[in-house]
Amino acid sequence: MQIIKCRAISRGKAKGKVLLSKDAISFLGGVDPKSGIIVEKGHAIEGKCIAGTVLVFPRGKGSTVGSYVILQLKKNGKAPAAIVNVEAEPIIAVGAIISNIPMVDKPQKDGYAMLKDGIVVEVDGEKGEIKY
């Protein structure tokens, strides 16, 4: 088993398949809260469903209301199981915390490259680690 060290942002543990986006994500307007599908035109993972995934993306962008949209996704059963960011910013961090979604950021340099689309990993938001 391999461990990628990260920084802990939001507590909890969860397992899922990696869904990797090279683009930043705006949850308000960019993700449909009912289906969990990325709807932003021209987005790197447009049309993909984020529900139950370990969603790996560089950072959040857009309106701060995005935090609340993450909570809506959670209530609708369409939230990601865990979130990994290159660099956390307040919209995503707050959204993950209020929705009880484990989140880490700043994975070790090579670690980020190891997070390939579709592999199953476990995110530990307490210790700040990704195991696979």
Binding site: Y68, V94, I97
Partner: protein, 390 residues
């Protein structure tokens, strides 16, 4: 990050789920911004009040907090809502919107937050002193508190301000620290700035150029609190200014030697005003962004006294300021001329675009920006007298 004993017990959930989650939010923000510890705050201003801005997602978040037993620990004040709580029917606010808005307000009330519904708590409720640490969330109030009052706050968001209110502390970073309160961007004002529209245009121009820096103004001969309120609001809207200095006027003046200097001329004033306005006749004229002081209401009353305005006219203000205006007979003067004094809300956060308005006048640099992009309005920008009498 180092936590005190009481902060640690909140983080560990000993004081309930709302406190635990709030402390986790504050810890995460502290990590993101490199804070070493938390500091107590003496007051909080919560944003994310209008149903128009937070929607169902935000309402669910508030309900969740109520369910988790959230209660504020320090005096906490609300930003404007999407409607006047008493006159929403006269304002023609859609009923479904009103219903949702009342649910939002009820949730905040259950947490122990004062229903001030204003962006100017410093005019009616609370005046933090120089050096006092606070956590405020409305951009113009943040600029005013840091700059005109000399208090210390970062630009809080809805959840981070609410978390600070529930825990009574905020992470110690950014504008809470001396080293981040120094200006390296000086604006030399080389023309007359007198009216609110002048200060709004100056602020709009500077906000677009300052980026994250704290502007320091020289050459402004005099400026009342109302004008400083207009200046800060415009900079916080066109840019992200949270702190500014005006030489000889603001209580603090901290400018780095060798700071970048820019010049603001009469021509810049003209081109900015031209950019903000369109050659239309407003269906609605709105005054009070940020919420009007009693002096500003008096100014409007003076202009419309004994006349009939040819468009709708709203003067937006805090409820306590409105009560004062009612007592002094100013509301009656404005109503007789065909206008309204509206409390709890403003032209930006109420659902204007759903109420049939397409062209709206204002004398505020901040309103000019948000009326255009949040409310889909064509904007007529100018001094009170000029836009009302058209």
């Amino acid at each position: 990050m180092e936590l005190s004993k009481s902060e640690q017990s909140m983080y560990d959930g000993e004081l309930g789920e709302a406190c635990r989650q709030s402390m986790e939010i504050l810890m995460a923000l502290g990590k993101i911004y490199g804070a070493k510890n938390m500091i107590p705050v003496t007051s909080v201003q919560v944003a994310g009040v209008s149903y128009k801005t937070i929607g169902d997602a935000g309402l669910e978040y508030l309900m969740e907090n109520v369910k988790n037993g959230a209660k504020v620990k320090v005096p906490t004040f609300l930003n404007p809502a999407g409607m006047d709580r008493e006159q929403w029917q006269e304002m023609k606010i859609p009923e479904q919107f009103a219903k949702k808005q009342i649910e939002v307000l009820d949730a905040y009330a259950k947490m122990g937050i004062s229903m001030t519904c204003t962006c100017t708590p410093y005019l009616v409720e609370i005046r933090p002193k120089v050096g006092e640490h606070i956590a405020w969330a409305e951009s113009s109030a943040i600029a005013f508190a840091n700059s005109v009052l000399g208090a210390r706050t970062n630009r809080e968001g809805g959840p981070s301000a609410l978390a600070a209110a529930i825990c009574g502390v905020t992470p110690n970073y950014g504008l809470h620290l001396d080293e981040n309160r120094i200006s390296d961007f000086v604006v030399k004002v080389n023309c007359d700035v007198k009216s609110n529209a002048d200060f709004g245009a100056l602020g709009y121009w500077v906000g677009e150029r300052a980026n994250a820096r704290n502007p320091a103004f020289v050459g402004i001969k005099s400026a009342s609190e109302d004008r400083l309120k207009a200046l800060g609001a415009a900079m916080a809207a066109s840019g992200s200014t949270a702190l500014f200095y005006v030489k000889g006027i603001t209580p603090e003046w901290k400018v780095k030697t060798g700071a970048e200097e820019v010049e603001f001329t009469k021509k810049d004033m003209q081109t900015t005003k031209e950019k903000l306005t369109s050659p239309e006749k407003p269906q609605l004229v709105t005054i009070g962004c940020p919420h009007a002081s009693i002096d500003e209401i008096m100014e409007v009353a003076g202009i419309v006294k004994g006349k009939k305005v040819t468009c709708d006219l709203w003067v937006c203000t805090a409820r306590k300021t409105k009560e004062k205006a009612d007592k002094e007979g100013l509301t009656a003067v404005i109503e007789k001329a065909g206008g309204r004094v509206i409390a709890d809300t403003c032209m930006v956060v109420c659902p204007l675009e759903e109420m049939g308005y397409k062209v709206t006048g204002c004398n505020s640099g901040k309103a000019a920006k948000y009326l255009a992009n949040l409310c889909k309005q064509k904007v007529v920008y100018g001094d009170v007298g000029d836009i009302i009498c058209k």
